[in-house]
């Protein structure tokens, strides 16, 4: 049993924090909320140079070849810094899907580009059904000539607007799990996207597929075998989000404690009031719990151990805990925390996105229920 980071992980964490403090200050986060792209190419290139974009991509494809747990360490810092842009989408959703299920050609075609920061790839899974289950996929891919024709509507697709390729999940059979993944260039004929406006000011899109033709070589993995891949990717995604939330939660706690020490009312720092102290103590408890339940799942995923239950438990718990942390943080901050100028609200708005992404608490609780024999 070892619940600490090893030396390399500690270094990764420290260097990530230093890098983000320098390159991703809150002013940038705030600017990117209004920016059309939602990130800067300059920062993107620096991420590539840091090796972050290829962190878990094997060395033979131009990556650094580190583990998923290492990525989680990084995502914790990214969450603390609220790193804007398609980092999560392209590394976890695009990159890891291709690593998991892509053909050798696909890996050679895409992974080095992702690692170098030249290619951005995302995953289009959800639809208006807004369901994380295979039944929710209603977009279709019909075999035609030497390829497939895709039709349907994808929703909540992260950073589709800046991706060069989008991995689209589409139905290729009548069985519940008959879903197949297709790598589609964003500029493919018949594919159109519209940005949604979200509480987190992140960039999600609606994607219309109107007779989009792709060749057979666009299939990622097996025909009708896409859902196995998606399940794995959703687990990585869920725990990646948990790691972000752990980072964000720690930051909100620090910020709130700091404010409670400095803000004077009734002639003394509000942090001397027991009500405020107990708010902060509850937040600390939530952050502590979030950290270890996330680490457990991240480590098991990283080791390839069975982790279905641990992932569900983590996402269910951390999503709720982070909402509580943010709500309490706001309560302690009072009015100032609601202002656009203040960082508190940057975190609390992102907390909502993170809660929903890759299944909310109810979704994961059902998995837990099955796991405990209900």
């Amino acid at each position: 049993m070892d619940l600490g980071l090893n030396e390399a992980q500690q270094m990764l964490k420290t260097s990530a924090r230093e890098f983000l403090e320098a390159e991703c200050p809150d002013t940038l986060v705030r600017d990117m909320e209004e920016d059309e792209r939602g990130f800067t190419p300059e920062l993107w290139q620096k991420l590539a140079e840091q090796g972050w974009l290829g962190l878990i991509i094997p060395e033979k494809y131009g990556g650094v070849g580190l583990s998923f747990f290492d990525l989680a360490v990084l995502l914790e810092e990214a969450g603390a810094a609220m790193l804007p842009g398609p980092f999560f989408a392209t590394v976890v959703l695009g990159g890891m899907t291709i690593m998991e299920a892509g053909s050798e050609e696909q890996k050679q075609q895409f992974l080095p580009g992702i690692a170098e920061g030249k290619s951005i790839v995302t995953l289009a899974l959800l639809e208006p059904t807004a369901s994380w289950r295979p039944e929710g996929v209603e977009a279709t891919a019909a075999a035609r000539d030497d390829g497939y024709v895709l039709n349907g509507t994808k929703l909540f697709v992260p950073y589709a607007h800046v991706s060069d390729h989008i991995i689209v999940a589409a139905r290729t059979g009548d069985g519940a799990r008959d879903v197949t993944l297709f790598l589609v260039p964003r500029d493919a004929d018949g594919m159109d996207h519209t940005l949604l406006k979200t509480i987190a000011s992140d960039r999600q899109s609606e994607l219309l597929l109107d007779n989009v033709s792709v060749p057979s070589s666009a299939v990622v993995g097996e025909i009708n075998g896409g859902w196995d891949t998606i399940e794995r990717v959703l687990r990585w995604g869920a725990i990646g989000k948990c790691a972000e939330m752990v980072g964000g939660g720690g930051k909100v706690l620090d910020m709130t404690v700091e404010y409670a020490k400095q803000r004077v009312q009734f002639g003394r720092p509000i942090g001397t009031f027991q009500a405020v102290q107990h708010h902060c103590a509850n937040m600390a408890s939530d952050v502590e719990g979030s950290r270890y339940i996330t680490y457990q799942a991240a480590w098991r995923l990283s080791e390839g151990e069975p982790a279905v239950q641990e992932v569900a438990a983590a996402k269910a718990w951390v999503s709720d805990a982070y909402q509580r942390v943010c709500a309490t943080g706001h309560q302690v901050h009072g009015a100032i925390g609601f202002t656009k100028e203040h960082n508190m609200q940057l975190y609390s708005r992102r907390a909502k996105e993170a809660e929903l992404a890759f299944g909310d608490t109810d979704f994961h609780l059902e998995a837990v229920a099955q796991g405990i024999g209900l």
Partner: protein, 390 residues
């Protein structure tokens, strides 16, 4: 005991409802969206004037001041029906400034302000909070120094709606810096157009704004002093009590819950209407009960007032319970909407016009504004239950 409105009160309710439904576009929910669009602001003002035309704004006031001497219960009904429909009716003039002037103002002040408030001719912003005086209101630092016929006012007031063009502010200012904090404060009203006043807009997370108003040596006529000089804390304290009946929370919540129930009936998840999901049913039902409870707690506050009892603990409980309840409701609502809950009103896919997304953010302010939940609990414990101060 009779938990039913009188026939006369019910008739008034019908009249109010009918008027609003015929005069106000149903899909217009300024209160929810906290709009700052000039068009919306104009509509607000127009509708206020319409209500004033019916005499409803100040219906509970004495006739001599433009009122109709209606009962507190009719005032409650009016507040309930307008809040249910998102009708913005009061900027503090009716519920706060007017009663304060009635109680502590000079005859001249009454003659000037009360009819104008009653006719919705002047609009108000609050001038209580300062950057360093939030929960601890008694620590206001804005100075007002007497000079001839004026107070010379210097300082800042924050979290008010001054950017929306209100023309008067009611405020607490320090007129004697040498005595302990609750003393040495005066309650004054000032026009917003005076030289030396600047308004800076503070954008908030949910798209609306508040203002920081800075006073640099502003000469406010002494005629704006309400009540005795240095007694403003006590003049203002009455007013704080008046602000806390809070039926608006349950009224807004009732409407929101109805919308949520409709949404759940009309939308499917995993192939069946969301309304058939037992977990969602249970949660929505629990909210319905909370709303009901909140409503009755508010009714009791209004009823006590109608009996000329002073609700104290009861008003704080109403504020505490109502604002926390509304926060729970928005939290539940946005959760019920699932992935769609995160969509801003500007997204074409936003359900219920994004009201839950906006409200989820703004409602967090309700447990902070006008006395945080912590302050309410302090009041309930010490003033209400007689627990000793720490």
């Amino acid at each position: 005991m009779e938990i039913r409105f009188s026939a006369e009160d019910e008739a008034f309710r019908d009249e109010v409802v009918e008027f609003i439904e015929s005069e106000l576009p149903w899909d217009w929910r300024t209160q929810e969206l906290d709009s700052e669009e000039p068009e919306d602001l104009k509509l607000v003002q127009q509708f206020k004037e319409k209500l004033a035309g019916k005499g409803w704004l100040t219906r509970a006031w004495p006739k001599e001041y433009g009122g109709q001497e209606a009962s507190h219960m009719q005032q409650l009904i009016f507040n309930e029906e307008t809040a249910y429909r998102g009708v913005p009716v009061d900027d503090g003039g009716v519920s706060m400034v007017g009663p304060t002037i009635m109680m502590s103002g000079t005859e001249e002040q009454k003659q000037f302000f009360l009819p104008r408030i009653s006719r919705a001719e002047i609009s108000w912003v609050q001038g209580y909070s300062e950057p360093d005086a939030g929960s601890d209101l008694a620590s206001v630092q804005t100075r007002a120094v007497e000079d001839g016929d004026d107070f010379v006012v210097t300082g800042s007031k924050i979290w008010n709606g001054a950017h929306s063009g209100a023309n008067w502010m009611f405020m607490l200012v320090r007129t004697d810096p040498d005595v302990r904090k609750h003393r040495g404060i005066s309650f004054i009203v000032t026009e917003m157009g005076l030289p030396g006043i600047t308004v800076e807009r503070i954008p908030l997370m949910w798209g609306a704004s508040r203002s920081l108003v800075t006073f640099e040596g502003v000469r406010v006529p002494k005629s704006g002093l309400i009540g005795e000089k240095n007694m403003g804390w006590y003049v203002g304290a009455t007013l704080l009590d008046l602000e806390r009946s809070g039926v608006g929370n349950s009224a807004r919540a009732t409407r929101l819950l109805e919308d949520l129930v409709d949404f759940c009936r009309e939308n499917k998840r995993h192939g069946r209407p969301i309304s058939e999901d037992p977990v969602t049913r249970s949660r929505l039902a629990r909210m319905a009960v909370d709303i009901q409870t909140s409503k009755l707690i508010s009714y009791n506050v209004a009823w006590m007032q109608s009996q000329e009892q002073i609700p104290n603990k009861e008003a704080s409980i109403s504020k505490l319970f109502g604002s926390e309840m509304l926060k729970r409701l928005y939290g539940l609502g946005i959760q019920v909407l699932g992935m769609y809950g995160q969509l801003d009103p500007e997204s074409k896919w936003a359900p219920l016009r994004g009201r839950f997304e906006r409200g989820y953010m703004s409602v967090a302010g309700n447990t902070v504004a006008a006395g945080t939940s912590e302050i309410q609990r302090n009041i309930i414990a010490t003033r209400g239950l007689g627990l000793p101060r720490g």
